[in-house]
């Protein structure tokens, strides 16, 4: 039994990589993940990844932000210390639209981005789970879990046929950063 944990198909062209994904899927070889130096549209559909729901998060955070500041302003200017400014209403809503808008945007931006970081496990100091160092530079990498029954040579050949410039049989899942 070989010690190979992951098989990586390295492509130098996104179109050929897409071709590689098709080939593997036609042969019922499950793909673990794909690493690319730039966003490639269409992979999500092929790999059956659902749409991101971050938009809903952004909307909710935006609502929270707007409600928070408007409630605070009500408390400050109408409840806690109402001031008579020329006999005008204490809770002069049109005046508070700018701050309400600003906090809606502020909360939406920060809430959504931090949700993104949380969901994707991104934070300062996290050890990068990198499978191939060139995946952030000029290689489009398809990673295949080697545990399946398909003979590894077949996978290698399939990747080569699809146009992979290099196929790696890695004993370790991630490139060590130590």
């Amino acid at each position: 039994m070989s010690s190979t944990k992951f098989i990586l198909g390295l492509f130098d062209d996104p179109d050929e990589m897409m071709h590689g994904i098709d080939k593997l899927q036609k042969n019922s070889i499950p793909i673990y993940d794909v690493y690319t130096p730039m966003p490639i549209h269409g992979i999500e559909a092929k790999l059956g990844i659902k749409d991101s729901r971050l938009g809903y998060a952004a909307f909710m955070f935006g609502c929270v932000g707007g409600t928070t500041i408007l409630s605070l302003v009500y408390y400050f200017l109408a409840h806690d210390w109402p001031m008579n400014i020329g006999g005008k209403p204490h809770f002069a809503v049109p005046d508070f639209i700018p701050v309400t808008f600003e906090w809606s945007v502020l909360f939406a931006a920060f809430g959504m981005t931090f949700t993104f970081f949380y969901a994707t496990h991104l934070f300062p100091g996290r050890a990068p789970r990198v499978m191939d160092l060139r995946a952030t530079n000029d290689r489009f990498v398809i990673a295949i879990d080697a545990k399946g029954n398909t003979p590894h040579e077949d996978i290698t050949n399939l990747l080569k046929e699809a146009g992979a410039v290099e196929v790696k049989h890695n004993d370790r899942k991630y490139v060590s950063y130590e």
């Binding site: 730039m38 700018p98 931006a109 990068p128 995946a135 952030t136």
Partner: protein, 490 residues
């Protein structure tokens, strides 16, 4: 992705003969991974001397109070708020490029958005320092925030545009920072994966553990799009609110409803001028001519021309409305711009912003690097004078002639302003040294279809309308990074 080919008649966004993904990385990271050249050191020395001057002048202000500035009872705002509005305006181009152009799917933004956004952040920092230092007692800046205090609590007045401004500027700064940094993550990961030793460790921490997996990219794109979507109204709101600092007052020359759109157009105008000033130098010094091409320069010049003309129309409208309103004070203020003691400032404002930029109607001017650079400096100067005219000329002669006065800047006023330019350039030069000045991941998206290399391949493959190919080649002549003679045989 590459399922459809872009029309050949569109100009390339990336030039260079044998461009590959690896070459993009090498080119963009060259200044980050190597020791800086002489030009950088000269620039950095001058800029940091300016920053030192700023530290000195602001410390002096804090120590002796704002009495050390040239302000008086009549002219209570002058170089400080002029500088503040000028810097905030400059900041706007970054968000315009990164957010609005993203929504409009303008792919040429990909190679200039990173540095423009960095510029936004540094410009807003400069603007914020003006706000804090003009308070006189800067430690009281805390009272701009609605924090519980021992006076009641006496809360801030949310009816005041100045408080709206606190919220707008702080939101703008922090959202821009988040937008910029999230965009940087994939590129920091590239630096990390190419580096070794402590260098790799630092960038590893900064990269947040970015891997570039499918799900990460998918979420990244969602985040970018939504941030762009909410930054667009945000950036418009920021300068709208800045204009309301003036427009909600009863001061002739300030009290006009045209201020919000007029200020926003002016902000985009001055911001693009500053982007032009910086990028024309940066592309030369860092050797990025293949990424920031003549197409980019010309496009930015077109935006400067359009926004400059919008500003021109706003100026004319102001004069017309002053006349049409029949308000004596309003009419006098606008007349005073030309016949008063500050006539020279008004001439600078109208001359630099409206008259000079009209030469950009000529393609020869728009595609000339030296002229573009000089014009961008002229716009920067003109927009500074615009704020000076609006603030000082309106204030110096108010309703009571007995309180009329002149404003004379002290050497502290001048030093704070020159110093803030030093701070800005110091931060910018440090930025291009340690972080990629061009969004690599986004430029790589353009390589297959929108690059000169890709288009050349299309031509060589044939099947194209020869007249379109001819049109494409003619367009290439203006590019300083393309050798057109190579196309003779193609």
């Amino acid at each position: 992705m590459a399922s459809h080919k872009e029309s050949i008649i569109r100009e390339p966004l990336v030039t260079g003969k044998d461009i590959t993904y690896a070459k993009v990385t090498d080119d963009v990271l060259f200044p980050v991974e190597n020791k800086p050249n002489k030009a950088w050191w000269i620039g950095f020395t001058v800029a940091s001397l300016g920053a030192c001057l700023w530290v000195f002048a602001v410390s002096w202000t804090f120590w002796y109070g704002i009495g050390s500035w040239g302000l008086n009872k009549t002219v209570g705002w002058a170089w400080d708020i002029t500088g503040f509005v000028w810097w905030v305006g400059i900041g706007h181009a970054g968000t315009l490029i990164s957010a609005v152009l993203l929504l409009f799917r303008q792919k040429w933004r990909n190679s200039i958005n990173r540095s423009a956004e960095a510029m936004t952040i540094f410009a807003v920092i400069c603007a914020a320092t003006y706000v804090v230092s003009h308070m006189g007692r800067p430690w009281m800046a805390l009272y701009c925030l609605p924090l519980p205090n021992q006076y009641g609590s006496l809360w801030v007045n949310f009816n005041s545009p100045l408080i709206w401004d606190v919220f707008a500027i702080s939101t703008y700064f922090s959202v821009s920072l988040v937008f910029w940094y999230t965009g940087l993550l994939p590129d920091i990961a590239t630096i990390r994966d190419r580096g070794t030793g402590w260098y790799r460790r630092i960038y590893s921490v900064l990269s947040f553990g970015w891997t570039g997996s499918v799900k990460t990219w998918q979420r990244f794109e969602t985040v970018s799009l939504i941030l762009a979507g909410i930054s667009t109204p945000l950036v418009l709101s920021v300068h709208t609110i800045v204009s309301m600092d003036f427009a909600t007052s009863l001061e002739p020359g300030w009290h006009t409803t045209i201020f919000p759109p007029y200020f926003v157009a002016g902000a985009i105008f001055s911001g693009f001028a500053m982007v032009q000033t910086l990028l024309l130098v940066t592309r030369k010094v860092l050797g990025l001519e293949n990424y920031i091409t003549m197409f980019h320069i010309e496009s930015m010049n077109k935006i400067i021309l359009v926004t400059g003309s919008v500003v021109g129309v706003a100026y004319i409208t102001e004069f017309f409305i002053a006349y049409y309103s029949g308000g004596e004070y309003e009419q006098y203020t606008f007349l005073n711009r030309f016949i008063g003691p500050y006539w020279w400032a008004a001439c600078m404002m109208y001359g630099c912003n409206v008259l000079m930029t009209q030469v950009m109607w000529f393609k020869k001017v728009r595609t000339n690097i030296a002229m573009s650079w000089v014009l961008s400096i002229i716009v920067n100067i003109g927009m500074w004078f615009e704020r000076f005219v609006i603030i000082v000329t309106s204030l110096h002669r108010d309703y009571i002639p007995s309180s009329w006065a002149m404003f004379y800047p002290t050497w502290i006023d001048v030093s704070v302003f020159i110093g803030s330019i030093g701070v800005f350039f110091t931060l910018f030069l440090l930025f291009i040294r340690v972080l990629p000045a061009i969004a690599m991941a986004e430029v790589k998206l353009l390589l297959k279809e929108q690059s000169e290399h890709g288009k050349r391949k299309q031509i060589e493959e044939g099947h194209l309308d020869p007249s379109q190919v001819e049109f494409y080649k003619e367009n290439l002549i203006k590019f300083d990074s393309v050798d057109v003679s190579e196309y003779e045989n193609a």
